[in-house]
Symmetry: C2
Subunit: 174 residues, 2 copies
């Protein structure tokens, strides 16, 4: 596989739409991809054990969905710094205790997005600072409620199901 050509078909504010031409076994093949700077997702755990989720409107899918707090990396930003910044911006909570749980591609078939998953504890409310066009409601759930939300397909977001399952595995010790 040899890259022949690359064209940015749309340059966005933080991600680009790109089309490439490859030589694959002597044939020219066209491939599309999203160039994304990477992202973070956080499992914020309150002192009483409840997890902070967000219910927010997602224009791309045209629906309100439950998600763990998440955010996009600024160019060159350390993922942990992004996580600290975004947790405060979106939930109003600052966390002292951070631990990396995993990292993964969201859609490696067509997106470079690489995501870092953290557990955030030792939370303190300092006041949120959301972008004006973010329509977010916080929803607190016990681990049991979160588990039920997975089982009943109330959670419909991959990073949120993945992060919650990984956290439940720890909490339940299995």
């Amino acid at each position: 596989m040899r890259l022949l050509k690359e064209k940015v078909v749309y340059k966005g504010s933080f991600m680009d739409f790109v089309v490439r031409e490859y030589d694959i076994n002597g044939k020219v093949k066209v491939r599309q991809l999203v160039k994304h700077p990477g992202a973070v997702v956080m499992i914020p755990v309150l002192p009483d054990g409840r997890i902070i989720y967000e219910k927010q409107y997602r224009f791309a899918v045209g629906d309100y969905i439950y998600e763990l707090p998440a955010g996009t990396l600024e160019p060159g930003e350390d993922p942990l710094e992004t996580a600290k910044r975004e947790l405060i911006e979106e939930t109003g909570y600052s966390a002292k205790d951070w631990r990396k749980l995993a990292e993964f591609y969201l859609a490696p078939g067509y997106s470079t997005e690489y995501m870092h998953l953290y557990v955030a504890r030792d939370l303190e409310f300092v006041g949120e600072d959301r972008d004006e066009d973010e329509d977010i409601t916080l929803v607190l759930m016990t681990p049991e409620e979160a588990e039920r939300a997975i089982e009943e397909n109330v959670f419909k977001d991959a990073k949120t199901i993945l992060g919650t399952l990984m956290y439940l595995k720890e909490v339940k010790g299995c």
Copy 2:
């Protein structure tokens, strides 16, 4: 939030790159999205309990990664039919026993891709039928090996980690 304009900036063979303009609280905001027909991901379990994974090159991320077998819906196709077709094409196994485990968005911030997760059992080898440009190696793992692959960050793909965690939860009964 009111949609003002939508423009397809690139029409692909199966997914489109789209840019929209919205009126959000009186201001015009530009949003990018990938229009995707949806997809399936399968956990194929052999009679001896091993799970079939694939190691494949992903041009978008420039690396070989482990993934559960997956595929994209043809327009109007029932997800279970896609799953049956893609499992044979990619692994050479036909399955008689299919069960839906979950469904979710991969990247609801910018992609309409909605994915259906199945467990496939009662497998029979009938011979694969891969697209000529697919560079896939099958890798069989016991549930214990798959669990270790998650813990050691050998798995770097969201749908694969999610699907494996959900299956392990069943196998371990917790």
